[in-house]
């Protein structure tokens, strides 16, 4: 089993997987001083429990990387669209939304589009008054996700012909449908604008 954290990867006991997933989550969040050279030493003496604030990591920390959540917020911090690919409690979701908003809203447009958020990275992009934020793993390909936001916006733009915040507010169910065609299970599903627009057309006919 390969465990990836930060820039390093480790080989660990395969059957410690489940346990490790929980533990890593709690250790990292607590910034427990893990000594990676004896990676498993701590597993032997930690009680198995998860702290609520780390449920963000709880999920596939070990298996692959993925998008943790997608947020669409306006400048005031109202969330216009939120999609989580990791199980979070509602209270935690609100906290995350608040923190992400605070993190991105004051950044200068000349700054990078990447901010570290807890143990992850938020890739954000601003379109007029709307912030599109993706939370991904620290080692994932940032630029690819940045462009993925842009592609999503292009699709929205195409679909609503010149999209604005109100379109998203009143047609939020459509936005969710488009998003589901575009990203599924935290991974890109379809990268062709045409395919998605066609598919949306099909779905509209059904209604």
């Amino acid at each position: 089993m390969r465990i990836e954290l930060g820039h390093r990867s480790f080989v660990c006991h395969a059957h410690a997987l489940d346990f490790a997933r929980n533990l890593f989550a709690s250790c990292i969040v607590q910034r427990l001083e893990l000594n990676w050279k004896t990676k498993l030493c701590l597993f032997s003496s930690i009680e198995i429990h998860l702290i609520p604030s780390c449920s963000l990591l709880n999920f596939p920390l070990i298996i692959g990387r993925m998008i943790r959540f997608i947020l669409l917020q306006n400048r005031q911090g109202k969330t216009r669209l939120a999609k989580y690919y990791v199980p979070l409690e509602d209270s935690e979701k609100h906290k995350v939304e608040y923190e992400v908003h605070r993190l991105v809203v004051n950044r200068d447009p000349k700054f990078t589009n990447f901010v570290e958020f807890r143990t992850h990275k938020v890739i954000y992009r601003r379109y007029a008054g709307l912030f599109f934020s993706l939370c991904v793993d620290i080692t994932d390909n940032e630029l690819a996700y940045l462009e993925c936001i842009h592609l999503f916006v292009e699709i929205l733009d195409h679909f609503f012909s010149n999209v604005c915040e109100l379109d998203l507010v009143f047609n939020f169910h459509k936005v969710y449908l488009i998003l589901d065609e575009f990203i599924l299970a935290g991974e890109l599903q379809e990268t062709s604008k045409k395919a998605i627009i066609e598919r949306m057309g099909e779905l509209e006919k059904l209604e």
């Binding site: 930060g6 489940d18 607590q30 003496s45 990447f114 690819a144 940045l146 299970a185 379809e190």
Partner: protein
């Protein structure tokens, strides 16, 4: 409703509606149902279980649209339950040739989700071949999705998917070289950058590429990407092409390509860190840091040092962080001086969020690459001066250690310390260091102007009123030392110092008081003072705790949270410390006053103990077993973990509560104790009985722990079956051998234990899953007979497994309409049993209700008209019976809480009896330890005195008759 939810209101009331909409036959309703469900619920939500069947019908049904909806939902919020029941169907869809690509790409990602939830779902024979076939797919949508799936699969087990490697390379060739893809999949003229990135990512999970042909063609593609990427005007195109480029770089690094290609990469990165575009610069810095870890291209990178230092002053914190990381990584003996000076300079302007990390890194670099030691001392003192708040104690401990070990350095350090003391306002930490250094080595300066003992004393004493109580002990030690070094004794100074000691002898802080008393007494003894307060012996050489700390810190690069989290951690460790002092203070006090070891100063012991106490965060390694005081330390720390005297209870409780913080402590302590400890009988940490009782109420926790091993348990119960996983963790640096675990199941449980390995490697952990099936009701408890050998020690423990009656209960709530007919239909023994229980632990009704609920007996308030009575209901599952409804009624007497009347009813006589007895056991305070085969401390689950039962006057009796 979703809109209401987004505005932040609670919409729990609608969850059920949403779930039921899923099963609607029409598309619009179904669609709304699916959307709302996947937005509002998360995978752990109970309602989702209700939907599994509907979802499954949709997936296997013929309607493509419904298939899509179902797959999307599962892909987004599917949990473990879904993984178990849906995986085969999803797999079928993915490889089916009759489905449209639309469905198949969803199926691929859905399967990925299920795989992440439960890796066993793809362990089907022949799946690898099918996966390989999937990669030949022409439709790019399906290919993109399959590639994501592949990345996850390969990252889990690259050996099995070896055959996919050439296909990945081929895909990459097709995309990057031949550009053979439909127009709609190009993004600003770049053939699907995401797919390229994914493919290269997948390739990075294979350790190497052996086949020379594949390797060659891959390098050809990579070369093309590396060279063919230019900076263009269009932002999107630029980003997309650089996304591919950076992934290619990562792959090149991973493959450890030829030198030439590497230097090409570094040159590219060098170009990137100089560009204005912040994203690219950020990634340039980040990748350069990664590159440092992979190969020795340091020299080439060093050429860019100036540029990197400029980035350190960038307005964007993300970039500054990367630059700092990179500088830290690239530092070596040749450029250390420049870099550290740069860091120090930057320190005074850096914002708070970065200071701590910055100071830590500067300290490490200074130590690691110091050209000469006086420079190192300079740097650290400057560091403390500039950012005292952010310099952790380890840093100054380390400098003290260094100075003590290097005689040439001592006068210099002392002089420096003296200089800093002249400053009008200095930081607390600086007071500590200076006081310590001057106490130890102040006499070496005696001849210099302004450095006579008296002057030293007065300048240090000036600071006393301003410091915290944690610094005062250090100052006191310093005074004692100054006193000792003053030869011939100066009566005036002596009186002054004695006066201070006198004053602190009644200090409220035990540590200060103790020191004051001891120093006072010692200094009156005259000659013996010399021995005890002699100069500190040299510290043994050891790895700097700082480096360790930094290594760990480095691991997660989420520096954003660093400060907050560290603060959090320190808070919790502070908690532990304060808790420990009472437990520990006394023994260490005794130890210290008994110590008559020549050439060892009390001071050191205390310092060491202090370090040990205040630095549980794994930095305890500072306290090494090889120190001269090893025995002492062993004794001091011993009670923490190894032996089980009264103090241990406190400790073990902390272990449970703050397990995370305390662990390093126990581990370290175990490591510290020298070999002879092994002959001691191994005592479990914490009460086994208590742990067992805690586990009866929850599903995961620690079952058993001793200095060598910890057994954790995690259980899942579903109806009459249960899956328990035992986690056997070796806490030691040497393997545990002859590990045996046998389950002695009672007759009503069928328990299968999977193979337990004979040895547990050092510091490793193994999992042993157990399958438990409940055949019929019984209160008997399964016992795990566990033994292992550590050194020559055979340790055997018999542990009760928390597979008890209540685990097979499932709480259900019943309404009055359901309850009363049931209650009446179960009339009289043996189906309905009544007993007056005496000697009950008195507790308020509310507590009792909570207790019942925690045993999965659902209390239905308001069913019984009498407020003093409780009615609870639950369902019992076993293999021999169908799910059995159990009803319980407790009638209490508000005048006498020690007795109650209990009536239990169910459809099965044995069950009724067993359940009644079970509840009785829980309510009555029998010392349960008697029942257990091995319990270290007889700890009744809830120790409370019972008072003799009084006469029964039951107000609920009349009601019972009515029912």
């Amino acid at each position: 409703m979703l809109y209401i939810f987004m505005l932040g209101y609670d919409v729990d009331f609608g969850h059920m509606e949403a779930v039921s909409l899923i099963s609607a036959p029409k598309y619009p309703e179904k669609q709304v149902g699916y959307i709302v469900t996947s937005c509002l619920l998360n995978e752990n939500h109970d309602f989702l279980r209700l939907a599994i069947n509907t979802v499954r019908n949709d997936i296997i049904g013929r309607n493509e649209t419904f298939q899509c909806l179902a797959l999307t939902m599962v892909g987004n919020i599917g949990g473990r339950d879904f993984a178990e029941s849906l995986a085969p169907d999803v797999q079928k869809l993915l490889i089916s040739s009759s489905c449209r690509p639309l469905v198949r790409k969803k199926a691929a990602l859905c399967l990925l989700r299920l795989f992440r939830k439960n890796p066993d779902v793809v362990n089907v024979d022949g799946w690898v071949d099918r996966m390989a076939q999937l990669l030949d797919e022409r439709d790019l949508g399906v290919l993109t999705s399959s590639m994501s799936l592949l990345v996850a699969l390969v990252s889990n087990n690259h050996e099995a998917y070896w055959s996919c490697l050439p296909k990945c390379v081929k895909t990459l060739e097709r995309l990057a070289r031949n550009q053979d893809i439909p127009q709609e999949y190009t993004y600003y003229g770049i053939p699907s950058p995401w797919l390229q990135v994914k493919t290269m990512r997948a390739l990075q999970y294979f350790p190497t590429i052996e086949d020379p042909n594949t390797r060659r063609s891959l390098f050809e593609v990579l070369q093309r990407i590396l060279m063919g990427t230019d900076v263009v005007k269009n932002v999107n195109k630029n980003n997309a092409s650089h996304a591919v480029l950076f992934e290619a770089l990562a792959l090149v690094m991973h493959l450890d390509a030829e030198k030439e290609m590497m230097s090409q990469c570094v040159a590219l990165l060098g170009k990137f860190i100089a560009v204005r575009e912040p994203n690219i610069r950020y990634l340039g810095l980040e990748n350069m840091t990664r590159m440092l870890l992979v190969t020795d291209v340091q020299d080439i990178i060093k050429r860019h040092q100036a540029q990197i230092i400029t980035s350190l002053k960038d307005p964007d914190i993300s970039i500054r962080r990367r630059a700092l990381d990179l500088l830290y990584g690239m530092c070596d003996i040749t450029n250390a001086k420049d870099i550290v000076e740069e860091l120090l300079q930057y320190l005074s302007t850096a914002e708070f969020a970065m200071r701590e990390e910055l100071s830590l890194k500067a300290a490490i670099l200074a130590e690691k690459f110091a050209p000469d030691l006086s420079w190192y001392v300079d740097v650290i003192l400057q560091l403390i001066d500039k950012a005292g708040d952010f310099v952790s104690d380890d840093i100054w401990f380390r400098v003290v250690q260094f100075v003590t070990n290097n005689e040439d350095l001592q006068p210099y350090a002392a002089a420096k310390a003296r200089e800093y003391l002249d400053k009008p306002a200095i930081h607390e930490t600086m007071v500590k260091v200076s006081a310590y250094l001057l106490g130890e080595f102040g006499h070496l300066l005696a001849r210099r102007p302004g450095c006579s003992p008296k002057e030293l004393f007065s300048i240090i004493h000036e600071k006393l009123p301003t410091v915290l109580s944690s610094t005062i002990p250090i100052l006191l030690s310093t005074y004692a030392k100054i006193l000792m070094h003053t030869q011939p004794p100066d009566p005036e100074l002596q009186n002054q110092i004695w006066g201070i000691f006198n004053k602190y002898e009644s200090c409220i802080d035990a540590e200060i008081q103790q020191r004051a008393v001891e120093y006072h007494a010692l200094s009156r003894k005259g000659a013996s003072l010399m021995d005890i307060l002699a100069e500190m012996p040299k510290f043994p050489e050891r790895q700097s705790a700082l480096i360790k700390k930094a290594e760990d810190t480095e691991v997660d690069t989420a520096e954003q949270s660093a400060i907050k989290l560290r603060a959090q951690q320190q808070m919790s460790s502070a908690l532990v410390v304060t808790d420990q002092r009472p437990a520990n203070g006394t023994p260490s006090g005794i130890q210290l006053s008994l110590v008559k070891v020549p050439s060892m100063s009390i001071n050191e012991d205390q310092n060491m103990a202090e370090q040990g106490l205040s630095h549980e965060n794994g930095i305890l390694s500072k306290v090494d077993p090889q120190t001269p005081s090893a025995d002492l330390l062993g004794d001091l720390l011993g009670p923490l973990a190894i032996e089980g005297p009264p103090g241990t209870d406190v400790q073990s409780q902390q272990n449970i509560v703050s397990g995370l913080e305390n662990v390093p402590n126990t581990v370290e302590a175990a490591a510290i104790v020298p070999v002879e400890e092994q002959t001691n009988s191994v005592q479990p940490i914490g009460s086994i009985a208590e742990r067992f009782h805690a586990l009866c109420l929850k599903d995961s926790g620690v079952l058993y722990e001793d200095p060598y091993i910890q057994i954790g348990i995690k259980a899942e119960w579903r109806a009459h079956q249960g899956r328990v996983v035992l986690f056997l963790g070796n806490k030691n640096t040497s393997p545990l051998v002859s590990v045996h675990a046998i389950i002695l199941p009672p007759s009503h449980l069928k328990i299968e234990l999977s193979l337990v390995p004979d040895t547990i490697p050092p510091r490793a952990q193994v999992q042993c899953p157990l399958e438990v099936v409940n055949l019929r009701p019984s209160r008997d408890v399964a016992v795990l007979d566990f033994s292992y050998k550590f050194g020559n020690n055979m340790v055997n423990a018999k542990l009760r497994l928390p597979a008890v009656l209540n685990k097979f209960l499932h709480p259900i709530s019943v309404s009055g309409d359901e309850f009363f007919p049931q209650w009446r239909s179960l009339s009289g023994p043996p189906l309905k049993l009544q007993e007056v229980v005496r000697g009950v632990r008195p507790m308020p009704l509310l507590d009792m209700a909570n207790l019942f609920n925690s045993f999965r007996l659902m209390v239905s308030p308001g069913l019984d008209p009498n407020p003093n009575n409780l009615v609870a209901s639950t369902t019992y599952y076993s293999e021999s019976t169908r799910p059995m409804l159990c009803l319980i009624r407790i009638e209490t007497d508000p005048a006498d809480r020690t007795q109650l009347r209990m009536t239990v009813a169910s459809g099965d006589p044995t069950l009724t009896f067993e359940l009644k007895e079970f509840i009785k056991e829980q309510l009555v305070s029998i010392p349960t330890a008697l029942r257990s085969p091995m319990a270290a401390t007889p700890a009744p689950p809830i120790p409370q005195p019972t008072s003799p039962a009084a006469a029964l006057t039951d107000p609920g009796a009349m009601l019972a008759g009515l029912l």
